[in-house]
């Protein structure tokens, strides 16, 4: 044995578990709409909050949510992160920014990339809109939206917006 002199101190035990992974109804509804270039949310019957992606039941009250709401592809940045580190499966050029984006008419934030904007210019309250891939490339993925970019409109008061959302919360 080549290594005969060196005692065994570790073993390698590779594991590969395959799944036929199902994402459930709420996410499927969202992904099927996004395949057609539409963004859907659902409205909580108790608080009126709109969730994106839609969910079958309210996070706060557990009530079934059956009302779907179509949302525009523009919104406002709540908070964000500038990433300066490359992870092994990451294809994005660093630095890049992703933000919590509250779409107009929504209460929950989605997370997405912000581009066409230097990281120094990023700020909470910034108005952004989606930049879509060509419709021929659309699949069931939020990656149909390549990124969000600034609209150039005046910033919105983010504290006022977040306080309005919080006021709706179930007491």
């Amino acid at each position: 044995m080549a290594d005969a002199q060196k005692p065994v101190t570790y073993i390698k035990t590779p594991i590969a578990i395959h799944y036929d992974y199902s994402i459930g109804t709420g996410s499927s509804t969202f992904m099927r709409a996004i395949r057609e270039g539409r963004i859907l949310g659902s409205r909580c019957p108790d608080t009126g909050k709109v969730y994106v992606p839609p969910r079958l039941s309210s996070v706060e009250t557990a009530s079934p949510m059956s009302e779907l709401v179509e949302l525009p592809d523009r919104g406002v940045v709540y908070t964000y992160c500038i990433v300066n580190i490359k992870f092994y499966d990451q294809v994005l050029e660093i630095p890049y920014a992703y933000a919590y984006i509250v779409l107009d008419g929504a209460d929950s934030a989605i997370m997405h990339l912000i581009q066409e904007c230097s990281v120094e210019e990023m700020r909470p309250g910034m108005r952004v809109q989606a930049v879509w891939k060509d419709p021929s490339e659309w699949t069931e993925s939020l990656e149909n939206i390549r990124y969000f970019k600034p609209t150039g409109e005046a910033d919105l008061p983010i504290d006022t917006i977040m306080n309005q959302i919080r006021k709706k919360s179930y007491a």
Binding site: I15, S22, G24, S27, R55, L56, S58, V59, E60, Y170
Partner: protein, 352 residues
């Protein structure tokens, strides 16, 4: 000791494959159903505890998504066990014993076996240095235990088949059963083995599902339920895991748990045994000293449906439901995890 009872039980229909809902979406309606059944809202729940497995779910922190479906607002007192949800019931019971302000507890479990091959995934429960590298599937391991029973002359393959037949026959009255029927044991014995001496009928089905029970203490239980299923005893024990170190014809830990729970030597009307494989049903009958007058697995046991990580909790729910409905006065519920009945929990439930 404070009196604690199971006052409600609910589960999804046992299905080979849940085509629509994810874990959280399966759990939410079951939880809503058990609460509604006793006229409570989620805000009346003082403690919540669940059981699940990340490797079964296919991602880490799988139970967190379920919390997002429970209406956990304002924030709740909540915990989680990795593994079979019967242990979540144990945690809730202990909390109720020592915290008087916890009057109502919700316990749930869930799993979707259909997404992967549980026969392989559950191999990851074995020794990662000595056993998992060989990938001894769960059916093969159970077969080593079955062979030990045959070699000892304790039972026959026909005994195994008759256990399967009994379970499937009982399942005919279970509207949520995935499998039921009245197969002929002789015909079953003509079928090929998967891992000899085990055949398909000796093994549990692959099931997707979720289940929930509600616990309540003392007068609160009486107020919410005409006939609470009081937990008279509850205990769990574990054995060494390596099959080559165990007398596989016994489950030492099942007996110890049964003794500690007060299940030995008392008359019970029904027993629900979490025996994934038919030989284990036989072993449990012996360790729990279940006698002639006891109906075993009136629900059909887990051969009618095996929502893994919830199937043991379902056993508690099935016994409790019969007591609550007045169909039984006293019953034993059993849950297990680990290969070949390694870890066992036994509860004695009783109506007033």
């Amino acid at each position: 000791m404070r009196e604690v009872a199971i006052i409600a039980f609910g589960q999804t229909p046992n299905r080979r494959k849940e085509l629509h809902r994810n874990d959280a979406e399966m759990v939410a309606p079951v939880v809503a159903e058990v609460l509604k059944g006793v006229g409570l809202s989620r805000r009346d729940v003082d403690f919540t505890c669940s059981g699940s497995s990340d490797f079964l779910a296919g991602y880490s922190f799988s139970w967190v998504m379920a919390i997002d479906a429970l209406g956990a607002w304002p924030p709740i007192q909540e915990s989680h066990v990795e593994g079979e949800a019967a242990w979540a019931l144990y945690e809730a019971w202990v909390k109720m014993l020592c915290q008087e302000e916890i009057e109502v507890a919700l316990v749930y479990g869930f799993g979707r076996q259909s997404m992967s091959s549980p026969r392989e995934v559950m191999v990851l429960m074995n020794d990662p240095y000595l056993e998992t590298p060989l990938w001894p599937d769960t059916i093969s391991q159970a077969a080593l235990q079955a062979r030990a029973l045959l070699d000892a002359g304790l039972c026959t393959e026909r005994d195994f088949a008759e256990i399967a037949v009994r379970n499937l026959r009982h399942a005919e009255s279970n509207p949520l059963a995935q499998l039921s029927g009245r197969p002929d044991p002789d015909a079953l014995l003509e079928t090929p083995t998967i891992a000899s001496p085990l055949r398909k009928h000796d093994c549990p089905p692959i099931t997707d599902g979720a289940c929930a029970v509600l616990l309540a203490a003392g007068d609160r239980a009486r107020e919410l339920c005409n006939r609470p299923a009081w937990i008279r005893g509850l205990a769990h024990r574990i054995d060494v895991q390596a099959l080559g170190r165990r007398d596989l014809t016994h489950s030492h830990s099942a007996r110890l748990a049964a003794e500690a729970a007060g299940a030995i030597g008392t008359r019970v009307d029904i027993a629900e045994l979490h025996a994934p494989f038919t030989p284990q049903d036989w072993i449990l009958q012996r360790e729990l000293e279940i006698t002639e007058g006891t109906v075993i697995n009136p629900s059909g046991g887990i051969h009618q449906g095996n929502p893994m990580m919830g199937a043991g909790l379902v056993r508690f729910g099935e016994v409790a439901a019969r007591i609550i409905r007045g169909e039984a006065d006293r019953g034993v519920a059993h849950a297990t995890q680990g290969p070949c009945l390694q870890q066992n929990m036994v509860g004695v439930l009783e109506g007033e």
